[in-house]
Amino acid sequence: MREVDLIIIGAGPAGMSAAGRAAECGLSVVILDEQPAAGGQIYRDVDRASALRGDILGKDFTAGQKLTQRLDHKNITHLKGAVVWQIEDGPRVSYTQAGQGGAVYAKRLLLATGALERPMPIPGWTLPGVMTAGAAQILLKQSGIACEGAVLVGSGPLLYLIGSQMVRAGVPPLALVETQTRPNFIGSLRHLGGALRGWRYLLKGAAMLWHLRRARVPRYVAASSLAIEGKEAAQAVAFTSKGKSQRIACETVLLHHGVVPNTQTARSIDIPHQWDEEQACFAPQCDEWGRTAKSDVFIAGDGAGIGGAKAAALAGEIAALDIACDLGQLTNADRDAGARPLQARLTNERAARPFIDSAYPPYAAALAPQDATIVCRCEEVTAGEIRRMAGLGCTGPNQTKAFGRAGMGPCQGRYCGLTVTRLLAEANGVSPDETGHYRIRPPIKPVTLGEIAAMTPQETKADSK
């Protein structure tokens, strides 16, 4: 079995920059990623896509090539298309690649598993034709596929980005339906000081919005009572804006109201998490270097708290420095000297975040959906059923599994966990921290018995180091 200094899970900005820095410090690195090419979701397939459609995707996307280049180092082994399904003490990581099971040991483990779209349970969100805005971006990046006549729904700068990319691609969205309100904007102004330090983001946001306006994409703001209509597939999106009921016929609805840390991997090894009220999600507890309560496990990037791609790349490097120091490749002084400029840039990168978070808060009615709305997509459990479970004495998400299968489908709670916690917390009058989250158990991704059987005897031996 392979044994290295550092295993990194995820080849997005945090994972790639961490791998690069760790390799430069002399560590042997294995980086595993589910996709066939490096980049993560934000820089999905960036090397190929930049050449084919860099003009549509923009400079902030093609800049990701600088990170993929860092993986080209003799100390780095990039396992492409490797799906991790179990992590054990060691740390030892089991995965499947090209239908074959494998395992790798290391002295340290860095989780760089990034973000997920914040679940947006509104009536009709399970209908075919309803996707996340991130999904539309992935189609555009990786496959050069655009969707005609789509309606963008929700809140946040990502809607402007995908909208302006669609305009550049010659397939403008049918409409932009935003849920944030003027009071949200006015409230966000108290963070303007920080936002001005992150002025590049504000400028970029304004430019994208102007681009959409010039393309005459109809824009509705302060939308409420959102619902997607249809029986076999999405046929229309209905909402209220400025006191008027609106209905836009469309086959594709792209939802987005922020992203949240993808905590599935960290939770599977019992890393402690806590509720982040500002970002309305759970985040793992890490120190300034990304070290968790398990001293050989680190987390960097959006998986540790949403900061965006550039912040993720910086956090990856910072974690790599501490890991190199841990393993005797750097002195404390060298580590600190290396980290100082990175930490200063990280502070700047994060400066605009409180402004963005408060100007574009999640759509409130999707955080606590109406009773008839499905919250667990896999098992089709509604918000009303979760509330009823609370009434029957259900205090935590794990009990909802026994009460009615919420979170027990194939996605393992990835798209209902936050909603279920929120609903139970509200119904029981306790905090999300007290309510807790689903217990996540391996395998965290599907694996066949055949793939396990194909592992070598050493790989399946339950020896611990």
């Binding site: 997920l116 075919p128 996707m131 996340t132 991130g134 496959s143 596929i145 655009a146 597939a233 599907p446």
Partner: protein, 104 residues
Amino acid sequence: MKPASSFRELTPAPECALADVRFGTRALRLPLGENLAAALLVAGIMPFRRTPVSGAPRGPFCMMGACFDCLVEIDGVTRQACMLTVTEDMAIDMPAAGKGDGDA
């Protein structure tokens, strides 16, 4: 005539080889090596599956391997279409209700 799908390739690569693929009873020619979920969307396939609970139709939602709504059955194994690439002679079916119960 209304196109089969509102998803379309911006710049179809002319040199791209096509693979013979079957989805249910439909014979398709899909770009070899393309992301399977993306290729099926362009081909106008919808839904990808029906839920084991109520038989509700579903299709790709997240395109990043997290939501499991794009599940299809290939060679008897239920798999995420968005995590696969198109290969020659792929035989794809909707996951059979009552057989695998949609478990991936």
